[in-house]
């Protein structure tokens, strides 16, 4: 079970391609492979799209699918990092306040932007929600970090509990914003909290893509050190790992990834939980394999979920968070039961 099959990564990559092509092809407008080639061809020659299909492909479908893949990868990688850091397989990226903080930031914009004055609105334009979400996520995570750190070594249990507390504050903040909001604004908050890819643009793809690639290159360098945390912090230090530095780095990377992704698409739950968990069952917990595997699998799964969001009630669209939670929660419970069974077998260990 723990030895990686040599076909594992090739199969994963094929799944990614299949998911990509099907997600592009199906939707309100069907797009053929020929349309895709034609569109790319015209674009490369600097011409404008010649058919509506090419236009839909270039301006709507492609950025949406790409943003979806990047977000899926980001959430899954972040899940691996957080689970490794907290030494707990049921940890989600949003656990240390990032998502709740980001959600609060976004809700502030939805409700108060009218009163913010023209200058700010013009300056930031469509970036206003993402900027506030990012700031909120960063602020919440930083608060958790500082409170948990105290003046000594950061204790992971304390960190978790403070994360819960800060999440609660974030939620109540968002709740208050919904309470004072007018109906359409409250609806915006609700939708944002459920996540959606319907407004994907190339700029969003660019920003999240660059962040994701940068952070992933940085994070994979810490895969080995993150492995030693499996033994516990003291043991990791015996093995030569500066655990304080490791924790700071991982938290920073996670916050950057999650708040950027959350800022554009809203809160998408369970992805960061399920994907690393399933990958762990398939290839074990060596982060050198787990990180790339979860990255690809996250991209595949979220793309499929988004297809579901677009097609299930077409032409209407379901917020993607509803699908990830609805499917994710039962899967999670099944996995949890299974893991408990595995752990109680074997016996004799303490």
């Amino acid at each position: 079970m723990l030895r990686t099959n040599k076909f594992f990564f090739p199969v994963l990559i094929i799944l990614l391609l299949v998911a990509f092509l099907t997600a592009i092809a199906f939707g309100a407008v069907s797009i053929t492979v020929a349309d895709m080639f034609a569109a790319v061809n015209h674009w490369a020659q600097g011409k404008s799209p010649s058919t509506i299909y090419e236009g839909v492909f270039l301006q709507i479908r492609l950025p949406r699918v790409l943003l979806c893949m990047i977000t899926g990868a980001v959430l899954a990688v972040s899940g691996v990092l957080m689970q490794g850091l907290f030494r707990n397989p049921i940890v989600e990226p949003g656990l240390i306040g990032t998502s709740a903080g980001a959600a609060f930031g976004a809700s502030v914009v939805f409700v108060l932007s009218a009163g913010m004055g023209k200058n700010i609105q013009q300056l930031a334009g469509p970036l206003l929600v993402p900027l506030f979400a990012f700031a909120g996520g960063l602020l919440a995570t930083y608060t958790v970090y500082m409170l948990a750190k105290g003046n000594k070594r950061m204790d992971v249990t304390t960190l978790l509990l403070i994360g819960i507390a800060v999440n609660a504050v974030g939620l109540s903040g968002t709740g208050f914003m919904s309470y004072i909001a007018r109906d359409p604004q409250a609806r915006s908050i609700t939708f944002w909290n459920l996540g959606t890819f319907s407004g994907a643009t190339w700029m969003q793809v660019g920003i999240t893509g660059i962040t994701a690639i940068l952070v992933f290159i940085l994070a994979i360098r810490y895969a080995k050190q993150l492995n030693t945390l499996v033994l516990g912090e003291e043991e990791a230090r015996y093995a030569g790992v500066d655990t304080e530095k490791l924790k700071r780095k991982i938290m920073l990377y996670n916050t950057a990834m999650v708040s950027v992704a959350t800022a554009f698409v809203g809160v998408i739950s369970f992805m960061g939980l399920i994907v690393p968990h399933v990958m762990r069952l398939l290839i074990g917990s060596d982060n050198k394999k787990l990180l790339p595997a979860s990255m690809i699998a996250g991209a595949v799964l979220l793309t499929l979920a988004d297809m579901g969001a677009r097609l299930l009630l077409a032409p209407a669209e379901i917020p993607i968070g509803i699908i990830t939670s609805l499917v994710g929660a039962p899967v999670f419970i099944i996995l949890l039961k299974r893991t408990n069974m595995l752990n109680t077998k074997g016996g004799g260990r303490d």
Binding site: Q83, G84, R221, K224, T228, L229, A239, D242, G284, N343
Partner: protein, 259 residues
């Protein structure tokens, strides 16, 4: 190699370790014994560098232990702890390979693989190498950690001054492997490795130790060198038990029984 100078550790208002001094030379095998809560593990943790003494100093190879960088220290000393809680499933081989982490950057070199194979052989766990750690018995798990730590000590064919700290390393092992594990540690001493082990079995200590430190209430209350004989009085004083001392059948040393 390691020089503990008048070290105390205070937690809250109580002394866990009080004014302890000891020295371990390269190639020496010392055993620390004593009743529960005597401060044995705490002393070992201070010698490992993970706990800082409240007062007093520890010198490792002539330099202050607290001045060593974590990654440098990892190439000069290795620790088997009393308890492990492993958070995720890992294979036995992956676990043993962690012992080599201080030596390679991203991917293990051929030499690392060879050392991992050798150390798993020594503890006779090679057949378990693809098993999930979580399915092992307590004794098997202990052998895995010993293999990992032996791999961290590294290439044992060359002489190198390193420190091996063992906190109750044989608590789950059957009698054969209790001896096998301590025998491996003893072999390292011939290569200038210094070993400090916390043990509860007086007979094991008598067989392998060059020196035994008896701790009680945070103090070292007795030191027994190789050429000194254990007495019933010492055991009464340290453990509050009545002991009878016998000669080994081969005439090599003594053994102890209780009544």
């Amino acid at each position: 190699m390691i020089d503990v100078q008048n070290v105390s550790l205070i937690m809250g208002k109580s002394f866990l370790v009080k004014e302890v001094s000891l020295m371990i030379r390269a190639g020496e095998f010392v055993v620390i014994m004593g009743p529960n809560g005597a401060g044995k593990s705490t002393l070992l943790k201070m010698m490992s560098g993970t706990m800082l003494p409240t007062t007093g100093n520890i010198f490792f190879k002539g330099e202050k232990l607290s001045g060593y960088k974590t990654e440098v220290l990892a190439r000069h000393r290795a620790v088997v702890s009393q308890h492990y809680h492993i958070s995720f499933p890992l294979s036995v081989r992956e676990m043993v390979m962690m012992g080599r982490y201080p030596y390679f950057k991203n991917h293990p070199l051929a030499m690392d693989e060879v050392i991992v194979d050798e150390q798993m052989d020594k503890m006779e766990i090679s057949h378990l190498q693809d098993r999930n750690y979580h399915t092992l018995s307590g004794g098997e798990a202990q052998k895995v950690h010993m293999s990992r730590v032996l791999a961290q000590i590294g290439d044992t064919s060359v002489t190198q001054q390193k420190l091996l700290l063992l906190d109750e390393p044989v608590s789950h092992l059957d009698i054969k492997y209790q001896h096998q594990l301590l025998q491996e540690a003893k072999l390292l001493c011939h290569k200038q490795v210094a070993v400090a082990a916390v043990l509860h079995d007086v007979n094991l200590a008598l067989k392998y130790a060059d020196k035994i430190f008896f701790m009680k209430g945070g103090h070292i209350i007795r030191t027994l060198s190789k050429n000194e004989h254990i007495t019933a009085q010492i055991l009464k004083e340290v453990f509050d038990i009545n002991a009878a001392i016998f000669d080994m059948p081969d005439g090599q040393g003594k053994f102890v029984s209780y009544y």
